[in-house]
Symmetry: C2
Amino acid sequence: MTERFTGLVAVDAGGTSTRAVVVHPSGRCLGYAVAGSGNPTAVGPETAAASVAESVMGALRRAEVPSTGIRLVVLAMAGTGSTSVAAEIRRRLAGMDLDAPLVFESDLLATYFSGTHLPDGYAVIAGTGAGAIRVEDGRQVAVADGLGWLLGDEGSGFWIGQRVVRAALADLDGRGPSTALTPLLLARLGVPTPRDAGDREPIIAVVRTLYGRAPVRLADYAGLVFEVTGDGAAARILDDAAAALARTLSAVRTPTVSGPVVLGGGILGRGGQLADRLAAESGAEEVHAVADGALGVSVLTLRHAGTDVDAAMFQRLATSLTALR
Amino acid sequence: MTERFTGLVAVDAGGTSTRAVVVHPSGRCLGYAVAGSGNPTAVGPETAAASVAESVMGALRRAEVPSTGIRLVVLAMAGTGSTSVAAEIRRRLAGMDLDAPLVFESDLLATYFSGTHLPDGYAVIAGTGAGAIRVEDGRQVAVADGLGWLLGDEGSGFWIGQRVVRAALADLDGRGPSTALTPLLLARLGVPTPRDAGDREPIIAVVRTLYGRAPVRLADYAGLVFEVTGDGAAARILDDAAAALARTLSAVRTPTVSGPVVLGGGILGRGGQLADRLAAESGAEEVHAVADGALGVSVLTLRHAGTDVDAAMFQRLATSLTALR
């Protein structure tokens, strides 16, 4: 008689990559794998579902756990619960003999629980997009922003990247101050610097290149703002981003919940000056920067399985996940 | 023996509509007609060319002039000289027995010459997009901005409309101050006002509606900023737009050319507070607000035909065109 393993799978599907964790019900991470973008809005439901399936398969292989032994899959994804993506993911999991219930969770809540096991607090996420949530009793009870690149996402990677490009173009165009962002952007795009003050070829080349891509790709240039020092334009962009993210956090704040504040996403999760400023402005005693939602979705998965994740179990999950990465 | 009429056709192809004028070589407008969008970027080369042909046919009919009597067509169009749109327009004009040379001109220069016959000065255009030019000796010698909704067009209808929508969403989301723009936008979109502070349905409805359209359509909401008085958010948007357009104008200024300054496009051409502020900031003695480029492309057409347009002829053109509209 073979004993049937009953484990859990936690998946954090993000815009850049998708992370899957095989979690032992006792609160230890057994396997971990990464695949491509799992954001259905960015890459379509087919590709997103394929990334989810690939990451799950990789994590099961790494854990040396059979797919038939999994009793629950929890998936953190932006815009949870689209029926077309859910159906496609179910189809692919069934195709690999993984016949467990599939539960969708908020990617923002997964980020929150990557920083703390405490049931009440806040998360501010700034990656390509940006938003904030308030968590009470382990549930996401309020949300601000997250309204996308065109109408919201203030202080996000897109928002910063668009300002970086606009500052460089205004400099080249004589409409704005000279900035160290300009040569950085031109070098990044492989566009030669202007021959003289009247040379508009670099402007035309930048404009043609960037309109040839999806608008959201402007987030690719957000990182340039961190590469310059003592630059007025860059400092203004960072000031404005910190102020925008502080407004988003304040929109979900309530006096009865003091913290912790978890900072996540590609822009805030890496720490650094923007995270430091937001942490200072938030006035919170406990601030954690987290790289992604993999640990948090593991916490959520254990909670869905009926396990209360206390400080000791949170620490065990974090340590075992770090060892696998 | 029938005498063959030798007239000229001037076309101002814009994003919203296309205007054609039949001009007598002596400097009088004989016919005028309007058709749909003539912007190939907005509606594609086929539709843009159809609008041009339709407006030309209407103006010829109104002038009671045969197409065989036209010896030159001058067409002012954004992004002049795309070969595919030029070929399509030539094909359609030939189909209506109009076998005259077709010359492309800058739509910005057409706007300039709608305000003055003087060969040296400036134009600032803010419609859906925004940009400025310097004119010397009747030619466009410098340009600033006009870099499109994603990367430039600062102070344009898109730029203002996006800020109007963002201000309303920030208000609804608790991230920004209360503004009179919010109820105006909700009414315009047919979205009910929130039932209580936690009701996110209006936010979701606005976001869903606007992401379902082309981004540039946000320009449709620019007009709301002029409909409120004593509103902080609206005043800030107008302040920022005036400052942005002033920066764009200053980028093309040179000490040897003092003016006039012509203000055009749907946002500036209607006059009003934004045009007044820009006029004051420009310090120019002579400022003209113009509705479109129909008069200016008529001036350019006469110049291409070898006629020097002086003050008297400019006045005659303007008066005869007004009588036809």
